[in-house]
Amino acid sequence: MNSIVARLPQTGSIIALLCYLMWPMSVHAESGAHADNGGVAESFAQEERVQEANHDDFPALLAELATASFPRKVALVNELQLRGWPGVRDALAGLLEGDLYYQQDDADTVRVYVVSAQGDAVTLFDPVTQQILERDAMTGLRRITTNNPLRRNLRGAVARFDLQDASPAVRRDAVAELRRGLDDATIALLRAQQAHETHRGVARDIDVALALHDLEDADVAVRLAALEVLSGELGNDVYNRVQRLLATDASGEPLEPDAAVRQMAGRAIERIEQRRSFFGFLETLFFGLSFGSVLVLAAIGLAITFGVMGVINMAHGELIMIGAYTSYVVQLLMPNQIGVAILVAVPAAFMVSGLVGVLIERGVVRFLYGRPLETLLATFGISLILQQLVRTIFSPLNRQVQTPDWMSGLLRFNDVFAITYNRLYVLIFMFIVFALLWLVMHRTSLGLKVRAVSQNRAMARAMGVRSDRIDALTFGLGSGIAGVAGVALSLLTNVGPNMGQAYIIDSFMVVVFGGVGNLWGTLIGGLSLGLGTKLVEPHVGAVMAKILMLVFIILFIQKRKQGLFPQKGRSAEGH
């Protein structure tokens, strides 16, 4: 007896395996039997069988769903989505996401929950009673399994529910989902929705979906009208479908019999391509701004140390690197709150890099004021030491800073134009940093003193400004900003000991191009260099674009030595 009991689980798994192997046969048998009636009739027949089983209440259907075979699950999902019970959508969406679990109690009653786990706490949502339960652990809960055909079915089912949703965004997603598999039932549903759809965007999407369907129509007028709708539409499916109208078969005969339709399709494609290239241009523009924002971030600290103080700080890139490593370390310290870690890293990196900057200024740079070439060499030596220090502490390998959830992903405008959130945030972040720095320089007493010392040190000292203290603070400010830039860059690229070197030449180029001593020059200079590089890049390649940028700046400095925005007045003579 004992041995049989012990082997039971094994036996069970063998039976499951057999069922799995035989499942395709049963599907074939079913579809074979109903082949002549078409898809609708088939699902109808399945519905009948569900009703035969007399499962007319929600809990019972869900309970059967928990343990049924995959084809049976498809039938049950089809049945469920026709019912108006509240909670059906939650259950189906949960099943789609793999969050639907069931629990069998002693009386063999099966209860189904949408489960969400956060840390140790488990939250159960009962779709039938619409109640939320709290649990400590997942014990006793078993996931309801899905497979690809079932998930496809579920997506359609959830989309049908979402089509009724109050939010237009949800409705649009639903239409987009339904557009992937257009059958008669879906078309009927969309037509019904079209009749009372009030949101223009959703209505437009439905029109496109219906037009895609109409392209299959036998009537030439209907096809022409459909093309009218589809002209200039950016979806990839639309483009491919319309393109197919222009295709020819193996013997060179056009697939589309009607010449007017072909001509119309040609025009539609032309229009689509026009719009595609427009959005492609927008995308390039965004890439350019994004690259420009990286350049500005890297250069803006230098705009203070080099631009305002006139100190050539070749260790600037390494201060950026220190900021990036600070962001990495803060994330290591707060592994569970990556999003918060990034926000903490910003002031932390400012402090760390700023402190290192003050040390550099007090330890080395202050002895070399008025000797720019020596400053250059000494700070370059410091940059080598800092690089090697990081290699010793963190290893020479690159480190990865994790992107928090709210920063990853795409902001999609249409199939052609999408921008990544992290680049968007870095762009916004750059503007914030710039604005803060501008305020510090122009609206605080520190900024006033910094400018006073840079314009006329002797006079400022005579007015009671402690110039050496201001020097240290200014250098610290510029270095701190470099550290903050490092946090932003750590989200876009790998963090490694060499990352500073990658930015140092670019940073100097931006500051020199924009005009030394001018924050606005750095902003405009960096953004326009970024734009220029990305606009040229598609034509000549990335490396060549960079070379051209450098050559352009070298030539530009010949023409306008003072950069885009030269300093005016007496202070200009100092440079």
Partner: protein, 367 residues
């Protein structure tokens, strides 16, 4: 005899130069002789490795002299001098590539291996003529010289000076490095030019060829030194020094400052090109890494360590720092960048005139 008298007049009151030239004669003639005549067991017998190392140091010394000439005497700090060095090296490398002939991996009589690999069917126009030694040597001088001429003309004409000049020269060498990394440029991309076989028909691996190269390098260093020395001692050199000490004043006195700077820069660039051309056959490879801004700035530090404004100081710095580098990278590789970085800081803070300045002040104190 008149040559000697010119030379001895040139070296008058210049103990450092006399010591340097004496040492160079000793090394340039003595080391090859010692290698050939003394038995291998002898303590004084230099190995082929040592010969190669010293030969390399001598090309570095020539590069250091070319940097010192413009930085030490004219105040122009170029952070892109390795661009000229590498261009000279590439010109020599192209000649050596063409000498490989059918002995390459693919056995193509005309095309170097990497071009066959990229399935090019003919030589790019700028490779034509590089199989002739005299033409290649002309290019060793002309290409760096031309780049220096165009770049210097653009920069000095619009009075780009000081750190601005340093930064755009750094951008120049950086841009060139990126360009040479591209396979499309036709210079072997990432791998550069290597696998050389022989030079003027002599096998590059043979000891006799190595000794020949060693002697040629020593002679080039000596001639380069004397030429630079002659330049800085001439009337032209005095104007150059005047420009360093007060550019505005020199200009107001009627000197065409830009022209002086430009010709000095071109000469310095050509000298660096020669150094590169001598470096490549001894090392056996030239790749885009030679353009790296780090190399250029390292070369500047040789000069700073030795003592800028004295030519023998530059030589001393180049040998000293490179000997340190050779020692550290073998004995203690992690520490090399610490040592180099510290050297930068210490020299600029405490030894503004380098080791030479230190020695001089010690000598003065003794008096």
């Amino acid at each position: 005899m008149s040559d000697r008298s010119v030379l001895s007049r040139l070296m008058q009151h210049d103990l450092g130069s006399r010591i340097f030239l004496g040492l160079l004669l000793l090394v340039g003639a003595g080391m090859p002789l010692a290698h050939l005549l003394l038995p291998e067991s002898s303590f004084l017998h230099p190995s082929t490795y040592t010969l190669g190392l010293v030969g390399k140091y001598m090309t570095y010394a020539l590069l250091a002299i070319s940097i010192d000439l413009i930085w030490g005497y004219c105040g122009i700090l170029s952070l892109g001098h390795t661009a000229f060095f590498a261009l000279g090296g590439y010109a020599m490398g192209m000649y050596l590539m063409r000498q490989i002939g059918t002995r390459g991996v693919y056995g193509d009589p005309v095309l170097p291996d990497f071009m066959v690999f990229l399935s090019w069917d003919s030589l790019p126009w700028y490779w034509l003529g590089m199989d002739m030694f005299w033409f290649a040597m002309l290019m060793v001088l002309l290409i760096p010289g031309l780049l220096a001429l165009v770049f210097g003309w653009l920069a000095f004409r619009s009075r780009v000076a000081g750190v601005y000049f340093s930064i755009i020269t750094q951008a120049l060498t950086f841009a060139l490095m990126l360009a040479f990394f591209r396979n499309e440029m036709g210079f072997g991309g990432n791998n550069g030019l290597t696998d050389f076989k022989d030079i003027l028909g002599y096998d590059l691996q043979a000891t006799s060829t190595r000794i020949g190269l060693f002697v040629v390098t020593a002679v080039a260093l000596g001639l380069g030194y004397i030429a630079c020395h002659w330049i800085v001692r001439s009337r032209f050199g005095r104007v150059i020094t005047a420009i360093r000490d007060g550019e505005g004043r020199a200009r107001f006195m009627g000197y065409r400052v830009e022209h002086y700077k430009l010709w000095l820069f071109v000469f310095s660039g050509m000298l660096a090109g020669v150094a590169g051309a001598l470096y490549v056959p001894q090392v056996g490879i030239i790749n885009p890494g030679e353009f790296a801004p780090l190399n250029a700035i390292e070369a500047v530090v040789w000069v700073a360590v030795g003592g800028r404004g004295t030519l023998y100081g530059a030589v001393m710095g180049a040998v000293l720092v490179n000997y340190m580098k050779t020692y550290f990278t073998v004995a203690w590789p992690e520490a090399w960048l610490y040592a180099l970085g510290t050297l930068f800081v210490v020299v600029t803070l405490f030894l503004p005139r380098g080791v030479v300045g230190l020695l001089e002040s010690l000598r003065r104190r003794e008096r």
